[in-house]
Symmetry: C2
Subunit: 423 residues, 2 copies
């Protein structure tokens, strides 16, 4: 399966067989999804995948975009369902799956692309043509409202996982309904933002009349890493804040903290995970006028190196009691929360300026976990009650989703086990 | 001058002399702006600047960020002045210049960085530490309102250039005042958006109390190229739309169409340019349901290759009369506008979703020219009157700025000739 090769990084141009000589769509395009060329796989062998813009496997036991090494950019969209027709919704999930497999492999949506009828709209909107796959991943999730609103209609009554709880209201929450919730979500991560934006836009286009975007969020820079050997990125407060994240290669930790196990139930979620998304506005102007000492006390780390209080290096094991009781690292640490551990995949955002001339900027927090009740909720209870950081941040958007397991092969589709009852 | 080397691509971490061993700020940092290491200049010699994250010269006869090969990402900010104190404003311009020189070279703002007093806020907000210079350019402009509102206060009476006209209202304009105008602007372009966002944020921080951001815009993907040999990028309509742009290496064309000449006046603008910024919302959902033929007729190009109607290749000279009279390429062509030619540097944006569930997406159009009256205005008069594209777009923000010449050396500063009267 070409989608499963990891070191191939064809450009979308090459895939479609376009040279510089006009409109001829050649054999590579005509053969569709199997038209991966290997003309530059030599470079792919020598250069890290991130640098070559390689493709990430779409198929597998888990959805890509969770344990996958975190890509640089994000476009995240929450959708609401607009149809009462189960067949139509299932057909959409199948069509989305097919399009996602093509786009993540670096192909245009639809085998016809522009080779089809001039009288019809193109199958692909076109702005990613010529761009590399850029490690695009597309990850779908189902929100609580899908089960509540469409339980009867879609035959989902009783299928809502117990672990997919509504989040409690935490102290300090100032949630905007227009930036919260959603029947569905798609997380698009890629090293090229144009590739991520293209993917969400084309899924929205395919879903026209059946689903509509409720809200969306662009993230311009990752704030977490799932690859311990890579440099830990910095958030908009200038701190490294994901040093002790779950590693995407640590199968034991993933099985314990991230993937839903067979024993957890429901069956359709085995191999899946739960996603919490929080839009966290940072009062960067206030933060920027705070002394270095105060900033370091708030986090419990030094700013330059990222080492915990009293330690020399970023990865030295923190000694929590050396920190102030309300330090962020101390309160967020698994040892302060009965071992609660979440895989973080957040992104910095800036969405222009608010009415007071302040940057509308902050952290779009994304965290995956095996059970929201044992992951985000205890950690956030602790943080929202006491975190010294609360003076500088505000949670303004919130959503939670059940993220089903991976799409096994080209005949499988997003949510199949949920809708057919067959694992 | 280290800022003037073009092939050096030190990481900000290396510049500050931080190894992995904690907080020791070594000799490289202590020596400040001359602390450029050359540890990876070997790679820089073999790999294109874009790939190595190299620095672009800040100093020179023209500001960088105009003829410079277009970087991938943008953060653009319009500021309003908040002080009536000329000395304070001039001091800000000097401080901004110094910070811009450091940031574009890949340094943190301020020589102290975190080596200073723990009791003071850090000089740099920190989120770009460890990132490469990423070809960051920072380009300042002065809006008409600076001259109108602060003419007496700042001694600028009579100094407003004739070519810095207020733009007329064009048919179809639906401008939002909150996304238009501004006494000043700074255009930050970089291959890494975090580097661009960091730069604007730190300038805003330095300007606290003296200037405030009026509006800002993130651009996630370039839509124009000033390097003819590079692949022409695509806009969010999926089309290549900057094929015949002014080349950044074409000194004749730049002198004719972009740089203000000595004979043009005023003296303080010699070597400068004029910038028009327009936020152009695209109705992408409507566009995406339009047939390929209609889309190609609207542009006057084919979508796949980008060739003009009846031509085989993107760069074949277009035959305008083969296109429909209202085709975009035909109406925008210099031959249809008395030779009017502008250097385009626009970026695609997406700012979430509007109240109707549609993507708030489009083109943040940036164009540089020697005289707005002979550049943007005639082209936009032609387009706004007849362009077939108008059915799918709307201009929702607008601004125009006088962009002064470059900063010559480390003693020079942004706007010096304007404020001192000495060229």
């Amino acid at each position: 399966m070409p989608e499963q090769t990891n070191s191939v990084s064809p450009s979308r141009r090459a895939l479609l067989g376009w040279g510089g000589a006009g409109l001829v769509v050649g054999a590579a395009a005509a053969s569709g999804a199997v038209a991966v060329t290997r003309e530059d796989s030599g470079a792919g062998d020598a250069v890290p995948a991130a640098a070559t813009g390689a493709a990430v496997d779409f198929h597998g036991p888990h959805q890509a975009g969770i344990a996958t090494p975190v890509q640089d950019r994000l476009h995240f969209a929450a959708f609401d369902v607009k149809t009462d027709d189960r067949e139509e919704f299932v057909a959409l999930l199948k069509e989305w799956t097919k399009a996602a497999a093509r786009m993540t492999a670096g192909h245009a949506v639809g085998e016809g692309a522009f080779g089809g009828l001039a009288e019809a709209p193109p199958d692909d909107t076109g702005e990613a043509l010529g761009l590399k796959p850029s490690r695009l991943t597309l990850t779908i999730g189902f929100g609580p409202s899908l089960f509540e609103k469409y339980g009867d209609t879609f035959g989902l009554t009783g299928k809502r996982p117990k672990a997919l709880v509504d989040l409690p209201k935490f102290p300090g929450d100032n949630l905007d309904r227009a930036r919260s919730g959603g029947d569905l979500c798609v997380q698009a991560c890629a090293d090229d933002p144009q590739v991520a934006v293209h993917a969400i836009r084309n899924l929205a286009r395919i879903g026209f009349g059946k689903v509509a975007i409720r809200w969306s969020q662009l993230g311009f820079g990752k704030t977490s890493s799932t690859t311990p050997e890579a440099q830990t990125p910095r958030n908009l407060m200038g701190f490294k804040d994901g040093t002790r994240n779950v590693a995407g290669t640590d199968k034991t930790a993933l099985a314990r903290h991230v993937w839903v196990g067979e024993q957890d139930g429901p069956d359709w979620m085995t191999g899946g995970s739960y996603l919490v998304a929080r839009r966290i506005r940072m009062n960067v102007e206030t933060w920027d006028r705070t002394s270095l000492r105060e900033q370091e006390d708030v986090f419990g780390r030094d700013k330059a190196e990222g080492a915990a209080v009293g330690k020399a290096k970023e990865r030295d094991e923190p000694f929590l009691k050396a920190m102030k009781p309300d330090a962020h690292v101390r309160l967020a640490h698994p040892d302060s929360n009965g071992g609660a551990t979440i895989l973080r995949r957040g992104y910095s955002f800036t969405d222009g300026t608010d009415g007071l001339g302040r940057l509308d900027a902050g952290l779009f927090f994304l965290a995956y976990q095996r059970d929201v009740r044992k992951g985000f909720i205890p950690v956030q209870r602790s943080l929202s009650a006491s975190d010294a950081l609360n003076e500088y941040i505000q949670h303004v958007g919130s959503a939670v989703y059940a993220v089903p397991p991976g799409v096994r092969d080209k005949d499988d589709w997003w949510g199949r086990a949920l809708f057919t009852g067959k694992a």
